[in-house]
């Protein structure tokens, strides 16, 4: 169980539902490359700071913000940050 994760630090798994509003299918298996440090990791392994309106997705290696997911009513917006590349591996 992932419990009461509003306002908490979790991981990319917890952002799967929110990101499914923008990306088709599951994002947790996508491998991203951080433009800050070059680290490669599945989105499920990223650090996610989550509250009622936003999910800040950070690189676990260097803490750069890879992307920010913003919820506004029924719509969801993704602002790309240090995410340099994303792919199925």
């Amino acid at each position: 169980m992932r419990a009461e994760n509003a306002g908490s630090v979790v991981d990319g798994n917890a952002a799967a539902g929110l990101l499914s509003e923008v990306f088709r299918g599951d994002v947790t298996m996508l491998v991203g490359v951080c433009g800050g440090c070059g680290a490669e990791a599945a989105l499920g392994e990223t650090v996610v700071e989550l509250d009622e309106v936003a999910a800040i997705v950070r690189c676990r290696s260097c803490t750069h913000t890879l992307l920010t997911v913003l919820r506004s009513g029924d719509s969801v917006r993704v602002v790309i940050g240090a995410l340099q590349e994303i792919a199925h591996r």
Partner: protein
């Protein structure tokens, strides 16, 4: 990977699991089924239209329109006290999912699998235990379950039964209070406890770690210290200490 939008769901059954946790069975018409380890987002809507969304792992897996969640109450929380104390059969909410392809186990692999749960992190791992048992794969599985005390263990009775032949081997760890007659150390999992309970690193197990963020970081760091490759350690964190 099926995601889909929000689906109406109805509470079918509630059962107390620990003094602070309840197992909920939901009926979800049109539910596409799930893999072991996946989760759902749950949306509650108040009478004034206010909505709250939280993620909960599924203790169930497979086909059918019935899914199982286990929810541990966060005393100051906005959603979990309702799900643990107030919700009753017939109540309605919405679910989205199944979600997540990363923290998932599917039958087919030959190598050993290690499951490590802290507290209510047992829920997705319970789905994996059930799937492995059903797939007759449990001989290659081990579960290490760390709880404060025996009364805090969600699925305690089912896990006690699963040790029967054909089940997954379970090692218990207690951080605050142990059952009477317990001779092992009581306290946070340390390197020795992990070394004793976990498949040896040279057997290259895939390791699934789920629990509060602090627990997962602590265990994952220790596993790397003990020689496990970071790429074979899958983690899921649900916040908290």
């Amino acid at each position: 990977m099926t995601v889909g939008g929000w689906r109406p769901a109805r509470i079918a059954e509630v059962a107390d699991a620990t003094p602070s946790a309840r197992v909920l069975r939901l009926t979800v018409p049109g539910w596409p089924g799930s893999d072991a380890g996946q989760h759902v987002d749950v949306r509650l809507t108040a009478e004034d239209g206010y909505q709250a969304v939280r993620s909960y792992s599924l203790g169930s897996y497979g086909a059918g329109e019935s899914i199982e969640l286990a929810v541990d109450e966060i005393p100051d929380g906005e959603v979990s006290p309702y799900l643990v104390r107030d919700v009753r059969p017939g109540d309605e909410l919405e679910v989205k999912g199944p979600l997540g392809g990363y923290f998932v186990w599917r039958p087919g692999g030959a190598g050993p699998v290690q499951l490590i749960a802290g507290g209510s992190g047992i829920v997705p791992l319970m789905a994996i235990v059930r799937a492995a048992t059903d797939a007759s794969a449990s001989a290659s599985f081990r579960l290490l379950y760390s709880v404060r005390g025996p009364e805090n263990a969600i699925y305690r009775d089912e896990l006690a039964r699963t040790v029967d032949p054909g089940g997954v081997a379970v090692t218990w760890a207690y951080t605050r209070s142990a059952p009477s007659g317990w001779t092992e150390r009581v306290g946070r999992l340390d390197d020795d406890a992990l070394r004793a309970a976990v498949w040896e690193s040279d057997r290259e197990p895939v390791v699934y770690v789920c629990g509060p963020t602090g627990f997962v970081e602590h265990v994952a760091d220790a596993l790397v210290r003990l020689g496990h490759a970071p790429g074979r350690i899958k983690t899921e964190r649900f916040g908290g200490a």
